[in-house]
C-alpha cells in the first residue's frame, strides 16, 4: 500500500510546506530537543493533561505534541469547509425530521428500525423542535485524506466532540515558541473559537429567555478525563463551569447556586451523556444530572446543547446514510464522500466482510475511542478468527471499511523527521449561523506504520494550519 505524503509528493515539496522545509533544515537536533522540552513544560504548566479511560497510570499524563505542523492551502480548506458545513446542516435536518414527522423514513431512504430501534434514539425528544431547529450545536467531523484531492469523512460526532482545547493550545504554544514561523507564513487564526462558541450557544437561548442569556458548561466533574477541556473552554468563554449539584430546578426554570443566591441559567452546554442528564427522565440512579431538567427543557425554559438524542445521527450504522441525508434535505450532492462501508447486518455485505477480513477495518457500531475494532492487515490469524466469531454473534453491531491509505505528515521522531499517519477533526458550530474556524485538531499516529490516531491508543496531536491566500 502506498501513502500520500502531504509534504513530499512526486519527489517535490508541495507548496504549502515550502517554508517548513527550510525551517527544519535550519533546526539542529539539540535545538529541536530543547524546543520539545520547552513545549512539554508549557503544556504541563498550563495543566493540559489527558487521562486515558481504563488504563490507570498517571492521571496527569500529557498527550504528546508534535511540533511539525500540518498545513492546508486556502483552496483545500475552502472545499473542506463547504463539505463540513453541508454535512452539519444535513445531520441537524435529519434530527429535526426523525424526532418530528420522520419524512426520510416514510420516503424509504433510511430503514426505520435503524433510527427508531437505535439505542441513541430518545423517545423523550419526540415531537420537540429545539430553538432554531438545532440538535447538534458542535459537530465534530473526522476526516481522512488519501491523495492530493481525496478527502473522506470517517465519522461524525454530534454529541459532545472533545479535543478542541488542543486545537487552541497547540496553536498558542507554536506561536510562543516559533514566532518567526508565523511571520513567514500567513496562517489563519483559530483563537476566535471560544467567542464564536459562546455566540452560537447564546443564539439558541430558549423562548422564555429575555435579555442576554446566561450560558454555562455542565461537566461530570474533575475526575472526568476531559475536565481540563471543560474548564479551559469555560474560562475562555467567560462562563461558569458547573456540575449537576450546582444546578437545580424551581418552577419553570433552572438555577445555579451562587454565593449571591440563585441565578437563572438559559443555555447549558453539557458535557455529560444523555443518560445522566436528569434522573427523573433517564437513568434514575444518576447523581451527575439535574432532577426535572428535561421538563424545563421541553417546556422552553432552558436549552441543552447538544440536544438529548442527537447521537442517533452519528451512529456508525446511520453514518452510511449521511450522503443520502444531504441529497434528501438539501437537494445537493455531498461535497465530502463517505468511506465505502459494509453493514454486517445486511446479508450480502456480511458475506463480503467475512471473506475479506484480513484486508478490512471492522468497527463496533456503538464503540468509540478506537476500542472494539479490528484492523485486518495488522491482526494475527487468531485475532481475526476471534473477531469473526464476535461479528457472527451479533452482525448488526458491526460495520467494515477498507483499510484506508491515510496520508502522512512529517513528524519529529528520535532520528529526525519521519512520515506518520494523520487525520483531522474540525469543529463546526451550528446556531444562528453555521460556521467553523479555519483549522481543527490533527491527530497523528506516533508509532511507525500505525493507522490508529486515537490519543487513547498512543496518538499525538499537531498544530493545524490553513494558509491565507
Amino acid at each position: 500500500m502506498t501513502f500520500f505524503n502531504e509534504m513530499y509528493h512526486d519527489g517535490e515539496v508541495r507548496p504549502p510546506y515550502a517554508r517548513l522545509e527550510g525551517w527544519t533544515r535550519a533546526m539542529p537536533a539539540e535545538l529541536r530537543q530543547m524546543k520539545q522540552a520547552e513545549a512539554e513544560a508549557l503544556f504541563r504548566r498550563i495543566g493540559i493533561t489527558f487521562a486515558v479511560y481504563g488504563e490507570g497510570g498517571d492521571p496527569d499524563r500529557l498527550i504528546p505534541f508534535d511540533m511539525f505542523p500540518r498545513v492546508f492551502t486556502q483552496d483545500e480548506w475552502r472545499r473542506l469547509e463547504r463539505g463540513i458545513k453541508q454535512r452539519a446542516r444535513a445531520l441537524n435536518a435529519f434530527l429535526v425530521d426523525v424526532y418530528g414527522r420522520g419524512e426520510i423514513v416514510r420516503a424509504g431512504r433510511i430503514p426505520g428500525q435503524l433510527v427508531y430501534r437505535n439505542a441513541a434514539y430518545e423517545a423523550a425528544m419526540a415531537g420537540f423542535v429545539p430553538p432554531r431547529g438545532v440538535f447538534s450545536h458542535i459537530v465534530g467531523i473526522d476526516i481522512v485524506r488519501t491523495g492530493p484531492n481525496d478527502f473522506f469523512v470517517l465519522e461524525d460526532n454530534c454529541r459532545t466532540p472533545s479535543g478542541v482545547s488542543y486545537m487552541l493550545e497547540n496553536r498558542e504554544i507554536m506561536m510562543r515558541m516559533f514566532p518567526a514561523l508565523f511571520r513567514e507564513n500567513r496562517i489563519e487564526p483559530v483563537d476566535s473559537y471560544p467567542e464564536r462558541l459562546r455566540r452560537t450557544l447564546a443564539s439558541v437561548a430558549p423562548a422564555k429567555c429575555a435579555g442576554e442569556p446566561t450560558v454555562v458548561i455542565l461537566t461530570p466533574g474533575h475526575f472526568n478525563s476531559a475536565y481540563y477541556e471543560h474548564s479551559f473552554l469555560a474560562d475562555l468563554m467567560g462562563v461558569e463551569l458547573v456540575e449537576g449539584q450546582d444546578l437545580f430546578v424551581e418552577g419553570e426554570f433552572v438555577f445555579m447556586r451562587t454565593t449571591e443566591g440563585p441565578k437563572r441559567v438559559d443555555v447549558i452546554y453539557r458535557r455529560i451523556d444523555d443518560g445522566f442528564l436528569d434522573p427523573l427522565c433517564f437513568r434514575p440512579e444518576s447523581m451527575l444530572g439535574v432532577p426535572g431538567l428535561m421538563d424545563v427543557y421541553r417546556s422552553g425554559g432552558v436549552t441543552l446543547a447538544s440536544a438529548p438524542g442527537a447521537g442517533v445521527a452519528d451512529d456508525k450504522a446511520v453514518y452510511v446514510y449521511v450522503p443520502e441525508m444531504v441529497r434528501f434535505y438539501l437537494g445537493e450532492e455531498p461535497i465530502l464522500p463517505n468511506v465505502p462501508t459494509w453493514q454486517c447486518g445486511q446479508r450480502e455485505d456480511l458475506a463480503h466482510v467475512l471473506e475479506h477480513l484480513p484486508e478490512l477495518v471492522v468497527k463496533e457500531v456503538h464503540g468509540s475511542g478506537g476500542y472494539g475494532m479490528l484492523v485486518g492487515p495488522r491482526a494475527s490469524a487468531a485475532e481475526i478468527a476471534a473477531f469473526r466469531d464476535r461479528i457472527l454473534a451479533d452482525p448488526d453491531s458491526y460495520i467494515a471499511q477498507p483499510t484506508l491509505a491515510l496520508s502522512t505528515v512529517p513528524t519529529f521522531v528520535a532520528e529526525g523527521l519521519a512520515p506518520r499517519h494523520v487525520d483531522l477533526r474540525p469543529y463546526c458550530l451550528v446556531g444562528e449561523r453555521v460556521e467553523l474556524v479555519p483549522g481543527g485538531l490533527t491527530r497523528v499516529a506516533l508509532r511507525e506504520g500505525s493507522l490508529v490516531v486515537n490519543s487513547s491508543q498512543g496518538g499525538g496531536v499537531k498544530d493545524t494550519w490553513v494558509l491565507a491566500e
Binding site: Q113, R117, L280, P291, D295, S299
Partner: protein, 270 residues
C-alpha cells in the same frame, strides 16, 4: 359514562427534606373515547413548573417544592365522559412512531417462556387483531391476579415463572409477548371504574396497547380479560411501567420516604 376520580398520593419524610422535584403524567389523554369535563392536579406548597405535550401525546407537568418540608400531597380530582371504542385509541395525536415501541426494557424483555407463550398463542394467525386477542388471553391464563405476589421491580419473565401478579405484571408480560412477535406494544396507565364485587379492584390501573395494522393502537387488559371500554380513563403511556409512571420525583435530603395512595373512581349519576 361519566366517571369522577379522586386520587391522593401522600409522601411523608422521616426528616424534613430540602426540596422536592416532580414530573407528573396525570392528565387524561385526548382522544375520541374520552372527554374531560373538569380536571385538577395540585401539589401541596408546590410551585408549578413547565408543562408540555410529549411525543407519546401525554401532558407532562413539572413541579417543585421548596424545603424544608416533611410531607407533600399530590391531589388529582376530575370528571371525564367516556365512550366504549372497543379499546381502539382513535383520534389520539402522537409523534413517536410505532416502531419505537419494539425496543425492549429490563422489565419487558421476553425470555424463552414468554416467547413460547407468544408463539403458541399467535403462530400462523394472519389476522393481526385476532392474534392480539389471543396473546392477551394467553397472558391472562398464565398469570393469576394476586395482589402482593410481586413488587414494582418484578420483570415480565419473573411474573410468568411465578404464575401470579397484578395488573403491572399482566401488562409487562403482554408487552413482552407482543414485541417478541414483532408487534409494537406499550404500557398504559389510567383509572378503572369497577362496580363492587366485579373483578380486580384496582382503581389506579394499568394495561397494554398493541399496534394493530389498520386500526392503530388498541388497548388490551389481560387482568380483566377485555379491551378498555367506557369504564376506563386513559392517562399516559411508556415502554414499560417505569417509562409511563404517573409521578416521578426526587427529594433532596436523607429522610426515608413513606408513600400512601388513595384512589376512588365513581360513576356519576346522570
Amino acid at each position: 359514562m361519566i366517571l369522577s376520580v379522586q386520587h391522593r398520593t401522600t409522601y411523608r419524610y422521616d426528616r424534613p427534606v430540602r426540596g422536592v422535584v416532580q414530573s407528573h403524567r396525570l392528565t387524561p389523554s385526548v382522544f375520541d373515547g374520552q372527554r374531560t369535563l373538569g380536571w385538577q392536579v395540585g401539589l401541596s406548597e408546590g410551585i408549578r413548573g413547565g408543562g408540555f405535550r410529549d411525543g407519546a401525546g401525554d401532558w407532562v407537568q413539572g413541579w417543585s417544592v421548596r424545603g424544608p418540608v416533611g410531607e407533600i400531597v399530590v391531589l388529582v380530582q376530575g370528571t371525564v365522559e367516556t365512550a366504549d371504542l372497543s379499546g381502539v385509541l382513535r383520534g389520539h395525536r402522537e409523534a413517536i412512531p410505532p416502531e419505537a415501541y419494539l425496543r425492549e426494557t429490563a422489565t419487558t424483555r421476553a425470555d424463552r417462556a414468554l416467547a413460547e407463550l407468544g408463539l403458541e398463542a399467535a403462530a400462523g394467525l394472519a389476522d393481526a387483531l385476532a392474534a392480539a386477542h389471543r396473546m392477551c388471553e394467553a397472558v391472562a391464563g398464565a398469570i393469576v391476579w394476586r395482589p402482593g405476589a410481586t413488587q414494582a421491580a418484578t420483570t415480565a419473565a419473573e411474573a410468568l415463572a411465578r404464575g401470579e401478579g397484578v395488573c403491572q405484571d399482566h401488562a409487562h408480560a403482554l408487552i413482552a409477548v407482543a414485541r417478541s412477535r414483532g408487534v409494537p406494544a406499550r404500557y398504559v396507565t389510567g383509572y378503572l371504574f369497577a362496580a363492587p364485587g366485579e373483578g380486580p379492584q384496582e382503581a389506579a390501573h394499568a394495561w397494554a396497547e398493541l399496534w394493530v395494522q389498520g386500526l392503530g393502537w388498541v388497548g388490551f387488559d389481560p387482568a380483566n380479560r377485555c379491551c378498555p371500554d367506557a369504564r376506563y380513563i386513559r392517562i399516559g403511556s411508556g415502554l414499560d411501567a417505569r417509562g409511563a409512571a404517573p409521578i416521578r420525583g426526587i427529594a433532596r435530603g436523607n429522610g426515608a420516604e413513606h408513600l400512601d395512595v388513595d384512589v376512588a373512581v365513581q360513576a356519576v349519576q346522570q
